[in-house]
């Protein structure tokens, strides 16, 4: 692994990144329509840091994580990994960088080749990146099976022979087997039963500590992010509305959308019911975001300024950044409202 010269430098730096998809044109021979799924987003992840990316369907969180490893079309901005800008290098170079960057997807059933045995699946990254010889790879696979809580006999089984939780363990083994510096995990526990989620979350946390991995964890579940991540960014319609230390952002949110998200997330405690902070309705179509602040049509504190002038994300307190004109007075505004 090539270490950066400066140990303080971030491992991953996403700089004003825009991901643009083309939509089919509405008329035959009409102009193609474009849609920015991620709009000028910046974030940075340090060595060994765990970073959560939360938001609802269509907010661009998955597109962002996919763009980081080159799986989504970047139209503007940069993704720097260990100082190398991934958007400006060729395929071969990108492949060697990806050795240090591995993904775990939501549905292990869809991301594991059904015709390969678990052992072969886990050894594949080692083969692609030419790590070790046949014998040492086999040993490595057996070791990693132990550390993800599978038995050595499982190496000879096919994906369909595993349960959902075990399949996710195979996917995790595959991601960590070449000891990357960064894991990109896109909703890795959402498809699992509650009692298995905890097992997988504990496994991810343990491997992260043991191997010193940095983690970009994409999730819609605030409770999971609270448990796993030290920093968090909240996305709404392609933009980051608030980011900073998890405890601050989810504990005392400053952006009205973060406040809505936290208030509407159910907790298993009848003494703390969910609250509705925003008027009924749903986020608008991300392909046609509103003018001004994208949240203003749903925001109970929106003023005339919000509908014309989209707020830039700015520093508020500690290391928290918020994109809201009213971030400083948000608690007071909420009190006046209720």
């Amino acid at each position: 692994m090539n270490q950066p010269d400066d140990p303080q430098a971030p491992l991953l730096e996403v700089d004003a990144l825009t991901v643009t998809y083309s939509l089919p044109s509405q008329r035959l021979f009409g102009p193609a329509r474009k849609f920015d799924a991620v709009d000028r987003v910046s974030l940075s992840i340090g060595q060994g840091e765990s970073f959560g990316l939360v938001g609802e369907t269509g907010c661009g969180k998955s597109s962002l994580s996919r763009a980081v490893c080159g799986l989504a079309p970047v139209s503007r901005g940069a993704v720097r990994f260990n100082g190398t800008d991934l958007t400006s290098i060729g395929r071969l170079e990108l492949q060697s960088v990806r050795r240090n960057m591995q993904m775990i997807f939501q549905d292990p059933g869809g991301s594991l080749n059904p015709r390969m045995r678990a052992g072969g699946l886990i050894a594949e990254p080692l083969e692609i990146h030419g790590v070790g010889d046949c014998g040492s790879r086999r040993q490595r696979v057996l070791d990693i099976l132990d550390s993800v809580g599978l038995s050595r006999d499982d190496a000879d089984r096919y994906p369909h022979e595993f349960s959902g939780g075990q399949r996710q363990r195979v996917a995790i083994a595959r991601a960590v087997v070449i000891e990357p510096a960064l894991i990109l995990a896109d909703e890795p526990v959402s498809a699992l039963d509650v009692s298995l989620q905890a097992q997988i979350l504990n496994l991810v946390a343990e491997l992260r500590r043991k191997l010193g991995l940095a983690l970009l964890f994409v999730s819609h579940d605030l409770n999971v992010v609270r448990y796993l991540c030290s920093s968090v960014a909240v996305m709404y319609l392609g933009q980051i509305v608030e980011k900073g230390p998890t405890r601050a952002v989810l504990g005392s949110p400053r952006h009205p959308y973060t406040r809505e998200l936290v208030a509407s997330s159910p907790v298993p405690d009848p003494g703390r019911p969910i609250r509705l902070l925003a008027p009924a309705g749903e986020p608008p179509n991300p392909a046609a975001p509103p003018e001004g602040c994208r949240y203003h049509p749903r925001c109970p504190y929106a003023t005339a300024k919000c509908s014309v002038d989209g707020p830039e994300i700015r520093h508020i307190d500690g290391s928290r950044h918020v994109a809201c004109h009213h971030a400083e007075r948000i608690a007071e505004l909420e009190e006046n409202l209720t």
Binding site: E56, T57, S163, G165, Q166, D193, V194, S195, L196, Q197, A198, Q199, L201, N202, A205, H220, L222, N223, V224, R226, Y227, L228, L250, E260, L261, A263, S264, S265, P266, V267, P268, D269, P270, R272, P273, I274, R275, L276, A278, A280, E282, P283
Partner: protein, 326 residues
């Protein structure tokens, strides 16, 4: 309060290629008038199939009723003919499902779908039924209901589709609404709105609700009482307050501890070891025994007794303490 729905010793048997298998084993639950009961479990716990059995919608080639009784307003549903059951299902008991897109007809305007429901159970004119449909859309807080009647399902957002499903379910003013994971496919902010809507409607219409979910956070927000199932067996029932404050079954305790919680910042989640039994595995007398920290030989051999933790709280476990109920 009067018991509206009572399920007693229900046994459901699944017929698979490898032979019959018990899917629901001696389940007993009761829902009083106007009450909201949450039926909680993971996949394979038998919660959805129980709902289908109550509605009379079991896929008969695959699942049959092996025993037990289902009574609704004192009437034994399992003794009724198919025709008589259809008079009740959709009319006095209504059901909503997880994915509204698959339960709504994609090529029919939503107004027509609501009217279809009304006219299947009542003799009213098309015009009157359409007017009722508009009122129903207003009841579920859909803006501009008269215009929305002409929309097709794909023109609505996920939350609005679920509202339409609720409107259809409420069309005949049911006494009992069965909601099978109605918010699982929705985002949290939309889920919060749908939960609030169901709570409001339930109170306005004095309707009972059987709410099926896997999410204990949702239970805390929607239910008066909760019944927790594991692999076709009931583990624990009681008022939401008591079960969440003093969980008595090891499975309930496990479920409550393995959810990352906002208030408790733990270094490690207390996970339930092992996994759900696969369809081919043989089952222990207490289904949870293979994963249970308290299990001993009796758990594998003898079905768990019903133990009263309090007057409103029952636990099905050999090791729960408390007074055994005969």
């Amino acid at each position: 309060m009067n018991t509206l729905l009572s399920v007693r010793d229900l046994e459901l048997v699944g017929h698979t290629a490898s032979g019959p298998r018990t899917l629901v084993d001696g389940l007993s639950i009761a829902v009083s008038e106007g009450e909201s009961l949450a039926l909680v479990g993971e996949s394979g716990s038998g919660k959805s199939i129980t709902a289908l059995a109550i509605m009379g919608l079991l896929p008969e080639a695959e699942v049959t009723v092996g025993g037990g009784r289902i009574e609704f307003s004192g009437e034994s549903l399992l003794d009724l003919s198919a025709l008589e059951r259809r008079r009740i299902a959709g009319n006095r008991i209504a059901m909503i499902f997880q994915e509204p897109m698959t339960s709504l007809n994609p090529v029919m305007r939503i107004g027509d779908q609501i009217v279809e429901m009304i006219r299947a159970h009542e003799r009213v004119s098309l015009r009157a039924a359409m007017a009722r449909a508009a009122e129903l859309l207003a009841d579920v807080r859909i803006p501009e209901p008269a215009m929305r009647l002409r929309a097709y399902p794909h023109q609505l957002s996920g939350g609005q589709r679920q509202r339409v499903m609720i409107a259809i379910a409420l069309a005949c003013r049911p006494k009992l609404l069965i909601a099978d994971e109605p918010t699982t496919a929705l985002d949290v902010t939309v889920q919060a709105q749908i939960l609030a809507l169901l709570r409001d409607l339930q109170q306005e219409l004095a309707m009972a609700m059987l709410f099926i979910t896997h999410d204990l956070g949702v239970v805390a927000n929607i239910a008066d009482r909760v019944a927790i199932m594991y692999c076709g067996q009931l583990a624990e029932t009681g008022s939401v307050k008591e079960v969440f404050r003093t969980p008595s079954h090891p499975y309930t305790r496990g479920l409550l501890h393995c959810v990352p919680n906002a208030s408790a910042e733990l270094d490690e989640l207390v996970a339930i070891p092992g996994q759900l039994p696969s369809a081919s595995e043989s089952l222990a007398a207490c289904r949870f025994a293979p994963r249970c920290p308290l299990a001993d030989t009796i758990c594998h051999r003898t079905p768990p007794p019903t133990v009263a933790v309090s007057a409103v709280h029952f636990c099905h476990c050999h090791h729960a303490g408390g007074v055994a109920v005969p």
